[in-house]
Point group: C2
Amino acid sequence: MEKWNVGIFVFDGVEVLDFAGPFEVFSRTRLQPGVEARLSDEGAPFDVFTVARRHADVKATGGLQVVPKYDFADAPRIDLLVVPGGFGTRPLLQDEETLDWIRSRARECRKLTSVCTGALLLAKAGLLDGKRATTHWAALDLLAEVGPLVKVDRERRVVDDGVITSAGVASGMDMAFYVVEQLFGKAVADETAHYIEYRRI
Amino acid sequence: MEKWNVGIFVFDGVEVLDFAGPFEVFSRTRLQPGVEARLSDEGAPFDVFTVARRHADVKATGGLQVVPKYDFADAPRIDLLVVPGGFGTRPLLQDEETLDWIRSRARECRKLTSVCTGALLLAKAGLLDGKRATTHWAALDLLAEVGPLVKVDRERRVVDDGVITSAGVASGMDMAFYVVEQLFGKAVADETAHYIEYRRI
């Protein structure tokens, strides 16, 4: 089976759980149930990696320091792009290099997703125009401002209108399980949730 | 207000959400509600940092690479020690340097906690003798084996018998919220959960 390459964008000021939640869910998904299957990454349906603008350590919210596996230039094909949020998204709204990279990866990927205020970057890149989308509850108005053509959904935790956006921070895990279920079925998603003792919503 | 120093032990093969979940919860807790309070770490009641045996990058489950802030020797006072789990705990069960460090930090800290199979390390260090404790569902028997004097609790998600242990992976977030509530009250814990859109159990 060819694996899905999951690229998770990381940047200074990314919210920890925004990227770590989907990283956990996708990287621990197995099509074979049980603990043994998790001892190695061999049978994993996803190959999950972080990508930053440059090969330099990234400082997430609270000071957690992460070494990105790839940078914009050397990242391999991305099938599933995760754009997380955090206060670090705000300066990136003016960063054409980041927006261009997201646009170009969005064109090639099979699923485009965001967590929390990662949706602001997708909106700014024009990728949510005409689509229903959500973000952190405190950024719903800002999403409408950044993307005047976005149909802001103020109710749902995960919104799939071709592009999959999720509400704040922890809802990125629900987004990830939603995608796992879409691709591999409810049994695989539920068994993975059971493995990591996460109660799906 | 003097901050609580939260030291989170990280090591090769630590499960991502085991350390990232509590890191998120503790580092985003604020006594003042709202989004503005999260723009800086100034008013935070916790100072959260990672600690590894050596100053070298740590490879978590799935390949996430983390730079520890401190090592065993230079870590400051730890008020709240978090020992996460993951398959990387197994070799550490034979590592006297790690067990000694946990023992010495356990003596000085005000709260000793574990997530998932981090409980195996606490048990091996003798810190759970005579106490009720839990771990990942697949490691409950192993916990009883590693710590024959541990009263293994097979039902609860968070067990507080002086030492606070939690069940698998995601339950570390419930453990963290439990501690936040103990220290700063239910309103602060609930508001922080609302901020990160986590539904407490």
